[in-house]
Symmetry: C2
């Protein structure tokens, strides 16, 4: 793939193809929830425990958005106490790959970026 084609891919038609995906999973919790669900189907409480720091409200909202976009499926069982299980859809699972490549980049470059950042901040003071 040529460099020009790469640019077009990211910028997309009208300059914002990447915007759609970032609006969907660029928020604070979506990718973490997706990664956690990649381990398999899980119920609400377990999910809340396995995503460190997420509030009940944000887990609910995040799951609603992911469900709306068809990335996560929701199954509720009419029992008392209620039981609800969430699971990645087929499309949801295909997102894990690209997300991982970004995560690998992050892990590889985090130390360098932190150093650059400290150096930059030092120059300002």
């Amino acid at each position: 793939m040529s460099d020009y084609e790469k640019v077009c891919l990211i910028r997309g038609d009208g300059g914002s193809a990447i915007r759609g995906i970032l609006d969907r999973i660029g928020d604070k919790w979506s990718l973490l929830v997706i990664a956690t669900l990649d381990g398999g189907r899980m119920r609400f409480g377990d999910l809340k425990q396995h995503v460190p720091g997420i509030s009940q409200r944000m887990l609910t909202l995040t799951l609603r958005h992911l469900e709306r976009d068809g990335l996560v499926s929701r199954t509720s069982y009419p029992e008392v106490p209620p039981r609800v299980e969430y699971e990645l859809t087929g499309m949801g699972r295909t997102l894990v790959g690209p997300a991982v490549s970004l995560a690998e980049w992050a892990i590889r470059h985090n130390p360098i970026i932190d150093e650059k950042r400290r150096a930059y901040d030092a120059r300002q003071s």
Copy 2:
């Protein structure tokens, strides 16, 4: 790579390795600026024209952040009128690959997601 290792990659130590990268390039403009700069070194005004819809303020802020993180280098020429050129650093260019894989995913699945979303919204009403 096993599924479990994938999850660990995204969730990272303490559950937020992906958070760093999203905080860096998950904002509204960073990836678009990076993709645009992948075409080659460019000055402020050109950049503003080639990133559709970005305001002057946000372009400045975005470039500062990217420069701070060592993803973009800034060169200003002491002339009148002033001329400033921006360019991806080596590290900045390595980000284009993973970003492209995410963009490809977005382009491939955008139509499906839009359809799912419409269906979901229809069920609610």
